[in-house]
């Protein structure tokens, strides 16, 4: 057994409750089954244990984390443990008073999602009226002096808006504009045909983003997260499974990433039953794909295995039926043909499935 790696990043999914209904949501499709969120005291204990383990970056996420009544206290506790604390929010529940209280509690940074540059396409994706409120909140965030990342999930319906999104981020005085192409898990996988951009639109957006990245370097940072179906590059699974990153869901289950629950047979231990240190180091789920002993060919003998770690384990399971296979995004995967057909499978008229309790029940009935 090699020494346990050190975690740097913790994503704390404080709740699955959310006023938005975004069709690309990364929360599990069966989120309606989730009960009994961690208490304030349990999250405080997790943050202290995470800091002791070496975590530096804490993302307070959801659902909508602003729905937690104890958010100010959780921010205070995170900062008392010297964690770099980022709030990932849809913004619709924020006002000036809340933002001032978050600032006074020590919040370091806010990542605000918007669904597009134009109201109509944005609200088609969010499933509720929210666009103007988000723009107003972005201005409040800047007024109060928070550094701001605008995060936009990019897909077929808004990919042509990339130039307008860049203009908007500059106008709002954002520090960062994350152009996050849709990753096809959870709700986004259910809506894949409607969200998959065309090759032409994707290549054009990438070219525009590349030029903007160079033009605004040092003033507006523009991370461009690739659509791996179209880029053809396997994603380096969270920088390696159980290597530097962990996610804790609203009921306390500790996972190597928020999507990992799709892989059958993995049991995610809860911080209600064990210390974070013990789970991170010893739990079978956290060790399932650590290192490279689990790898099959073509990954096992591939020189890129320390770069991309064989791609995404969840995607390997979803597309090849076995989480230990090469991610079929890779041209060397025997299942790569599936990806070739899926990347061309873009359907403008596919109905959208909104992320809400009703759809969650319908999709997880079986």
């Amino acid at each position: 057994m090699t020494t346990t790696p050190r975690p740097y990043t913790l994503v704390a999914e404080l709740t699955y409750r959310c006023p938005l209904r975004c069709v690309y949501c990364s929360n599990p499709v069966d989120f309606h089954r989730s009960r009994s969120e961690l208490s304030t005291g349990e999250w405080r204990r997790v943050f202290s244990q995470a800091a002791e383990l070496g975590v530096m970056q804490l993302h307070l996420s959801g659902g909508e984390p602003v729905l937690r009544e104890d958010l100010v206290e959780l921010i205070q506790h995170a900062r008392a443990n010297d964690l770099y604390t980022n709030l990932i929010t849809g913004g619709t529940l924020l006002d000036e008073d809340k933002l001032r209280r978050f600032r006074d509690a020590g919040l370091d940074h806010i990542q605000l999602s918007i669904q597009g540059a134009a109201r109509e396409s944005a609200e088609t994706i969010a499933g509720v009226g929210s666009h103007q409120k988000k723009l107003d909140v972005a201005q409040l965030i800047r007024k109060i002096g928070f550094p701001l990342t605008l995060n936009v999930v990019i897909h077929r319906l808004n990919i042509v808006e990339v130039p307008e999104l860049i203009t908007l981020a500059l106008e709002l005085g954002a520090d960062r504009l994350e152009l996050a192409n849709t990753q096809f898990y959870a709700w986004a996988a259910e809506n894949r045909r409607a969200l998959m951009p065309t090759r032409e639109d994707y290549d054009r957006a990438e070219e525009i983003a590349r030029a903007a990245i160079a033009k605004y370097r040092g003033t507006l940072e523009i991370p461009f997260v690739h659509n791996d179906y179209l880029s053809g590059e396997p994603k380096p699974c969270m920088g390696g499974w159980g290597r530097s990153y962990m996610c804790i869901n609203p009921t306390g289950a500790v996972m190597p990433c928020h999507a990992a629950a799709v892989i059958p047979g993995l049991v995610f231990e809860s911080i209600r039953d064990n210390s974070l240190e013990k789970i991170w180091r010893d739990s079978p789920a956290m060790n399932a794909f650590r290192g490279d002993d689990w790898m099959m060919e073509p990954c096992r003998s591939c020189e890129r295995k320390t770069i991309d770690f064989g791609g995404c384990r969840c995607q390997a399971f979803m597309l090849a039926g076995n989480a230990a296979e090469a991610d079929p995004i890779c041209r060397l995967s025997p299942h790569h043909g599936i990806v070739e057909s899926m990347r061309k499978d873009s359907a403008a008229d596919d109905p959208l499935i909104y992320r809400d309790a009703k759809s969650s029940r319908a999709l997880s009935r079986s």
Partner: protein, 91 residues
């Protein structure tokens, strides 16, 4: 980069220093990433408060490291500031 001696660099609001007790080194933290700093880097960051000019930063560092060659220190400071400025970590 030319040395503009009147420039008073200020760290961006989204970046802050943290001492990492595990690796025993200073880290510059910012959204989604971090830079591990050596002692000089951390000393420079502490002086990036919008009040100290480049000359003053170099003066303070040369006092701190009393045998330092001022030209070499100036180069080190300018290189370091160029690196963090390119990452948007200076205002």
């Amino acid at each position: 980069m030319n040395a503009d001696h009147t420039w008073r660099p200020r760290l961006a609001s989204r970046a802050r220093l943290k001492f990492d007790p595990i690796a025993q080194q200073e880290m510059l933290l910012f959204p989604e990433a971090a830079l591990a700093l050596n002692e000089t880097g951390a000393a420079i960051v502490r002086l990036c408060d919008g009040a100290h000019s480049i000359d003053e930063i170099v003066d303070q560092l040369s006092k701190k490291y009393d045998n330092a060659d001022r030209d070499a220190l100036m180069r080190e400071v300018m290189d370091f500031l160029a690196t963090i400025r390119a990452r948007g970590l200076l205002q």
